[in-house]
Amino acid sequence: MTIKTVKDAINDALVQSFEEDKNVILMGEDIAGGKGREQYQGTQDAWGGPFGVTQGLYTKFGGERVRDTTIAEAGFFGAAIGAAMTGLRPIVELMYVDFAGVCFDQMMNQAAKVRYMFGGKQKVPMVVRTVVGAGFRAGSEHSQTLYSLYTHIPGLKVVAPYDAYDAKGLLLSSIKDDDPVIFMEHKRLYMTSCEVPDDLKPIPLGKGRIRREGSDVTIIAIQRMNLFAEEAADELEKINISCEIVDPRTYSPLDEELIFQSVKKTGKVIVVDESNPKCSLASEISSLISEKCFSDLKAAVIKITAPHTPVPFSPPMEDFYIPSTKKIIDAVKKLKDV
């Protein structure tokens, strides 16, 4: 057992995947850094991406497999599709998910549809690693989560780990998976850590996780919101309210069974999602519960989400934008009294 940060756990999963399968390659902007200055000492692997997550891969595996690109997302995302269809297992980095717009066509219309539209004869085993999340004071164009944007598209799988254990296990599976996977890393979680076994097995996609067992209220928390859910549950425990926390971990496919079991147990549900509310994971999960567990519910599902606004820069506004521990506690108390 070793304590690992999310950042290191992801790096470990990448290294392990590179070692296990020579067809795994990585492409992205400044995933190594220092291109064009190789003749100087200390320039190699100067960046490892803006958060240093891919640092060391270039040095270990070389420029043929670890390729810095130009700012041409449509180009290298498209290239990943062709490479995947013909035998490689490309991982591409979308530096911030906010840049999805400049290469969304590749994911929405090619990666997602190749298998279906061409008669099920092809597959596109690629992974998009991307950085999501508010709380970094990074403003409207570097702070979104956009989980539902990809989850909406049939043919894409969507993964969003909370801790280092899940990050490593889920990335290992994502790379082995034969479908295109969007793997979302939250910038505020990179430096958080937990125990990660050195020989951790891949965690299957589509399997959620009960982070805390409880009996009064179910909190379904999406990625970083698990942090606030845990804090809320700790507080509420002091006044004898017992919360169950469900972390779906993957959003397409979604572990509906796990969610429904918890709903059956508590009959009271809160969904916490840092994204905008309309057509979100929160609204999707809430609607599924209403449809499939109507008779188990003792109250309407409560959604706690960001407001229907872009992410503002200034701290007081951004803090208001992001769901909080307090909002969860208030909602739980409201449900408890039902």
Binding site: E29, D30, G33, G34, K35, G36, R37, Y40, G42, T43, A46, W47, P50, D68, T70, I71, A72, E73, A74, G75, D98, F99, G101, V102, F136, R137, A138, G139, S140, E141, H142, P307, H308, T309, P310, P312, F313, S314, P315, P316, M317, E318, D319, F320, Y321
Partner: protein, 325 residues
């Protein structure tokens, strides 16, 4: 000949931008201010030289590296600084932050954080000028890295096809993040990419503010006369990292030292007597610039924070705010 008033303006702006960015570097180190900060040390001559050829109501777009463009275009220093501090009196009411400094009333269409988002927006403004037979100049600022992005190429192609007299200003500062420009270019000169669009292009020394001014002025006239877009490439050096806090491991010291010999501020100082400024004139301008910058930072520090719920305002022109919650 360039008139005295303009010379003074140029000197004032170029020093203001340098002092401003040095203060930004300082507050970044002290962690006074939240968020990403991209400074433009080394770009001052491009910001000021191009803007000297524009009127206040001409249109520009900028990027996350926008402080210099905003200052040169005439945005209020106090408002820029307050925005960076996240205050309610900021130029974007604290919603945008450093990466999105923009004042529409000063001819800034926007500072976009997505690389290569600007050129097409400026193309649209220029199209409007053409349709309305107005004559405002339209300029898009972007970096060397942006020329690989499809959005830039699509804007360039349309601008040429539609005979739109807009100016593409590419600031070739040697790096796109941690990637050297000489590595990422496929052509010998960056501006060779315009050949595919049969677009006029000129290369200029981006460290010499008067050369930048001269080329810009000529290009604007030529573009309007010939009804055609023009691409300007200005070569300079990015002394700052990609953002404040960047280790800059990939920028060799000998390269930085060499570039320092052509530091735009150094060149401006050396050229001052040639432009009729004596030592006292120059000192006076420098002191004024420094004082104004200091005042702006003092001002920002005292400004009120926005209310949390201000986040809900102005998502749309016409929309019930209550349902935004």
């Amino acid at each position: 000949m360039i008139e005295k008033e303009k010379i003074n303006w140029i000197y004032k702006k170029i020093f203001t931008i340098r002092f401003f960015e040095e203060r930004i570097k300082k507050i970044a180190k002290e962690k006074t201010v939240p968020g990403y900060l991209h400074t433009c040390i080394g770009s001052e001559a491009i910001c000021v030289g191009v803007m000297a050829a524009l009127n206040q109501d001409d249109w520009i777009s900028s990027t996350y590296r926008n402080h210099g463009h905003a200052i040169a275009k005439g945005c209020e220093l106090n408002e820029i600084t307050s925005e960076i501090y996240g205050r309610k009196t900021g130029i974007c009411k604290g919603r945008g932050g450093s990466m999105h400094i923009s004042d529409f009333s000063k001819g800034m269409l926007g500072s976009f954080g997505i690389v290569a988002a600007g050129p097409a927006v400026v193309l649209g403004a220029a199209l409007q000028e053409k349709i309305n037979k107005s004559n405002k100049t339209c300029v898009s600022f972007f970096g060397d890295g942006a020329i690989h992005n499809g959005a830039f190429h699509e804007a360039a192609g349309l601008a040429k096809l539609w005979d739109i007299p807009m100016i593409f200003v590419c600031e070739n500062n040697g790096y796109a993040e941690a990637t050297a420009t000489d590595w990422h270019l496929n052509t010998k000169e960056l501006s060779d990419i315009t050949k595919a669009y049969d677009m006029l292009s000129y290369i200029g020394d981006g460290n010499n503010v008067f050369k930048v001014y001269d080329i810009s002025k000529k290009a604007i006239n030529e573009a309007k006369q010939k009804n055609t877009p023009i691409f300007l490439e200005f070569k300079n050096y990015r002394f700052s990292g990609q953002y404040e806090g960047d280790t800059q491991l990939y920028q060799p010291q000998e390269e930085i030292d060499k570039a320092k010999q052509n530091d735009p501020i150094k060149l401006a100082k050396e050229n001052s007597s040639k432009y009729g400024l004596n030592k006292n004139d120059l000192e006076k301008i420098i002191n004024e610039a420094k004082e104004e910058v200091d005042k702006a930072f003092d001002f920002a520090d005292t400004q009120p924070w926005p209310q949390p719920e201000d986040a809900l305002e102005e998502v749309y022109v016409n929309y019930p705010v209550e349902i935004n919650r």
